[in-house]
Amino acid sequence: MKPNLTLAQAFAEAQRCLLCYDAPCSKECPAKTDPGTFIRKLHLRNIKGAIRTIKKNNILGGVCGVVCPVEKTCQKACSTTEISRPIEIGKLQRFLIEYGWETGFNPLKNTSGKKAEVAIIGSGPAGLSCAAELAKAGINATIFEKKEKPGGVLRYGIPEFRLSAKFLAREIEDIKMLGVKIKCNSKIGANGVKNFRKKGFNAVFIATGLWNPYKIKIPGSDLKNVITSLEFLESVRNGNRKKITLMVKNKNIAIIGGGSVAMDAANSCKELGSRKVYCLCLESLAEIPASKDDLETARDNFVIIKPQCQVKEIVASAGQVAGIKGTETEWVKPNLFIPSNVREASGTEFNLKVQAVIMAIGSGPDPEIKNLCPGIKYKSNNLIKAKKDGVSTADKNIFAGGDIVRGPSLVVKAVQDGKEAAKKIIKCLN
C-alpha cells in the first residue's frame, strides 16, 4: 500500500479545507461518512472527534479511504477545486483511521446484546457494514462467509498493493470488537435462508456479491491461458501465486477491460514480472471507468492502455495463446457505454503478441443464488430485486444489499446498503 500521510501532512491538508457551509463533499458521500465534519474536526485539532465521526458513520472508513474513487464522489464536489485543487479527502480519512489504530483510540464500544439474532450471508462491505450497525443497536449479528477469510471483494478482489490484507484485517477487528461474529468456511447451501429462519434467526441479510465472472465469447476464449480477472486476482491474493506467476512472468499480457479491476490486474501482472501489459477497452481515455489513482499507478507501471478498441480473436499456436486480433472502435450513439453500441473503425485492425489474456469485464451473480433463497424476487440477470428502499425484499424478514442487488458498484455504496438494511432490520424487529 502507499504510505499513509503523517500527522503533519494530514493537518496541513486539513488546513486547506474551506470548511464549507452545508459541505458539498458530505452530500456526495454515498455512505454519508460526512467528510465536511471530520475534516473540520481535524482542522481544529480535534483528532479524536474526527475519528469518532468517521467510525460512527462508516464502519469501513479506513477501507473506503483507500479504495474509494474519490474524484468521482466526495472530492468531485470539493469547493477548493475552484481556487486550487480538491482536498485529498480519501487520504485524510485513511490517515485518521490508521492514526486511531496507532494511538490506540477506538471510539466504538461493544454494545451488542441479545435483542435478536440476525444472519448475514457474505462478509463483503455490505455484510460487514450491516453487521456492525446491528451490533451497535444491541442485536446479535452473525456473518456467514463461504471463503477462508472475511472481506469478500475487499479480500479477494483487490490486490495487496492497493489494500493490504493486514489493513483490512485490522478494520475487521474493529467490527468484531463490536460483538459481530464472523463464521468463515461457511457455505450456505440450497434453502439456506429458510433454514436460518427455522434455526431462530429473526432476519437474514443477503450480501453475497457477484462472483460469477463474465467472459466474452470469441474464437480462442476457451484456451488455457485465458482467465478472468476474478480468478487471476484471487490467485494472486490467495495461495496460487506460484502458478499464476508462471503464467504471467516475462510474458506479454492482454487485459480486456478498462475499469479499476482491469487496472488492478494490469498492475498485478507488472508486479509479478510481466513484460508488456496491454489494457484494451471500449471506452476512450476520457471515458475510462477506472479511477484516476488506478490509472496513474498503471501509467507508472508502464501499462499500455489501448482505448476504444475491441478484441476479435485470441490467436492460438500449438494450443497456447500466441496473440490477439482486434480493431479500433467508435460509439454509435454518444454516452452509451455498452458493447452493442460500438462499431468497428475500418482499416484499424491490429495484432498483439501476447501469451495470456485476462478478461476484466465484470461479473454477475452466481445462478445458485435463487436456490439459496427461493422465496424472493429476482431480475432477469439473477440480481435480487429489492423494493424502492434498495434493501427490502418480498419477504419482510429477508433483506439484501450490495452488488447482489445493485450489480457492479462501489464499495462505499455497499457500505451504505449495509447501513440502510440494518436500519430496516431494526425497524422490522421492533
Binding site: A8, F11, A12, Q15, L18, L19, C20, Y21, D22, P24, S79, T80, E82, I83
Partner: protein, 405 residues
C-alpha cells in the same frame, strides 16, 4: 540616524543573532546594514542560560508566528566581545555597530559604556527592557522605573561622545513616559520594542509552560510576527509625541519588506530584527532590500528617510472618525465558489445580513442589514482581487439591531 549612516536600514537586533562577530559578519555579507550587538554585562555578573531557552509558537501549519525565549544577556567574557566589536569595525568600517549594554549599578553602566566606545562602537543601546533577567535589579525593571532610566542614561551620557539609544519595554501602558525620561537623561534615540511578556504553550501532559526548564516554566519574552501590531503601535505613539521628537529604531515581528515599510511609515528610521533571522536566516534581508527599493522606485522616493512617518498624519484617535459615512460589504458573486463561510460568520458573528441559497450555493445579501464589519471578506477564500470589498453607500444610516422577537 543620530548622524550615523547605515548602508541599509536593516539591522540585527541585540539578541542571540548578534552574539559573535562571526555571525554578524555573515549577516553583513547578506545585506544587513548594521548590528545592535548582543547586550554586554560586567564579567562579575555570571550569566548561565537556562536549558532549553526557547519555545515555538505555531499557528495551524504556519511555523513560528511567535517565539518565546528566556535568553539572557551575553554569556561570553567581556574581553572577547570587545575584541569581536573591534574586529567588526576593522573588517566592516561602514557598518555601524550599536553596542547594547546593561549595568547593575551606575558604575557598571559607565564602565561598559566607556569600554564599548573605546572598542569602536558607533552607538550605544541601553538595555532597559529585558523581560526575564535571572539576575535581580536589571532589565525591564529599570525600564519600568522611570527615574532609573533617566539616571542611568545621564550617567552614560556624561562619559561617552557617541549617540545613545534607549531600548524600551512594551510591558507598560504608555511608552512615551519612560522615553521622555531617557531623553531627559540625554538619549539621542529610542529603540522599541523589546519582547512582550507572554506565555505561548503549556504542556498538556505535565502542565509546564514552555520552554520547559526541567519542570519549570516562566512568563518571559515573546516575539515574532504575532507582536508586530504591538511594535507598530509603540513606534507610532512615540513618533507622534511632539515632546519626544527623537529618531526611532523599530523592531518587533519584521520579516518581509512590507513589515519594514510599515515600521518606516509609522516613524522608525532604522529597523532591527531577530525572530525573522531565527526563522529564515540572514537571507531574508536580501528580499527586504529588494522589496523596499522596488517600493521606493514605484512610489518615487530617493531616500529611505523620505518615507519615515508618512502614515502618521493619518493616525487619529478613534473619536476623530466621521461616523456619518457608512458602507457595506459588496459581493462580486460571479467569482463565488460557494463555500458558504461568509454565511456562517455573518450569521454567527456579524450583522446577520446574509441568507443562504442552498440550491445555487450562494449567499444572498440584505444590504440594509450589513453592518460593514467586513469579517466575511477576511475569511473569503477568493482573493486577487478579493471577491468581497468595502463600498461606501451614500446616505446609509448606521445599522442598529432591533429587539429579538
Amino acid at each position: 540616524m543620530c548622524g550615523v549612516k547605515f548602508p541599509t536600514p536593516f539591522l540585527l537586533s541585540s539578541s542571540p543573532v548578534s552574539n559573535t562577530a562571526e555571525m554578524v559578519a555573515r549577516a553583513f555579507e547578506h545585506g544587513f546594514g548594521g548590528v545592535a550587538y548582543k547586550t554586554l554585562v560586567i564579567d562579575k555578573t555570571k550569566i548561565i542560560h537556562p536549558s532549553p531557552r526557547m519555545a515555538k509558537y505555531n499557528y495551524g501549519s504556519k511555523k513560528l508566528v511567535g517565539l518565546q525565549n528566556v535568553e539572557q544577556t551575553t554569556d561570553r567574557p567581556l574581553k572577547d566581545n570587545l575584541l569581536d566589536i573591534k574586529y567588526l569595525k576593522k573588517r566592516w568600517p561602514k557598518h555601524p555597530v550599536i553596542t547594547s549594554i546593561m549595568g547593575f549599578s551606575e558604575n557598571e553602566w559607565i564602565e561598559l559604556a566607556k569600554m564599548s566606545e573605546d572598542a569602536g562602537s558607533d552607538m550605544l543601546e541601553l538595555n532597559f527592557s529585558c523581560p526575564h533577567m535571572t539576575v535581580e535589579g536589571s532589565g525591564m525593571k529599570v525600564g519600568q522605573t522611570f527615574d532609573l532610566v533617566e539616571k542611568f542614561t545621564a550617567a552614560v551620557r556624561k562619559v561617552v561622545k557617541i549617540p545613545i539609544l534607549a531600548k524600551m519595554t512594551p510591558n507598560i501602558t504608555d511608552i512615551t513616559e519612560p522615553a521622555l525620561f531617557a531623553k531627559k537623561g540625554g538619549a539621542d534615540g529610542i529603540t522599541a520594542i523589546n519582547t512582550v511578556r507572554g506565555l505561548t504553550e503549556i504542556g498538556l501532559d505535565d502542565y509546564v509552560p514552555k520552554p520547559n526548564v526541567f519542570g519549570k516554566g516562566a512568563i518571559s519574552g515573546f516575539s515574532g510576527p504575532a507582536v508586530k501590531p504591538i511594535g507598530l503601535r509603540f513606534i507610532a505613539e512615540m513618533a507622534q509625541c511632539k515632546e519626544l521628537n527623537l529618531p526611532l529604531a523599530g523592531c518587533g515581528g519584521i520579516e518581509s519588506w512590507i513589515d519594514a515599510v510599515e515600521y518606516l511609515l509609522c516613524g522608525a528610521s532604522i529597523l532591527q530584527m531577530t525572530t525573522g533571522v531565527i526563522h529564515y536566516g540572514h537571507r531574508i534581508v536580501e528580499d527586504m532590500c529588494e522589496g523596499l527599493s522596488d517600493f521606493m522606485t514605484e512610489k518615487g522616493y530617493e531616500n529611505v528617510k523620505d518615507i519615515v512617518g508618512k502614515a502618521l498624519p493619518n493616525l487619529h484617535p478613534t473619536e476623530a472618525f466621521d461616523l456619518k459615512r457608512q458602507g457595506i460589504a459588496e459581493y462580486n458573486l460571479d467569482r463565488c465558489i460557494g463555500c458558504g463561510q461568509c454565511y456562517i460568520v455573518c450569521r454567527d458573528a456579524g450583522g446577520q445580513c446574509l441568507e443562504w441559497d442552498g440550491e445555487k450555493r450562494r449567499p444572498v445579501q440584505d444590504k440594509e442589514k450589513c453592518v460593514s464589519c467586513m469579517i466575511c471578506s477576511f475569511i473569503c477564500p477568493v482573493c486577487d482581487p478579493p471577491m468581497i470589498t468595502y463600498k461606501e453607500v451614500k446616505n446609509k444610516k448606521p445599522v442598529i439591531p432591533s429587539v429579538s422577537k
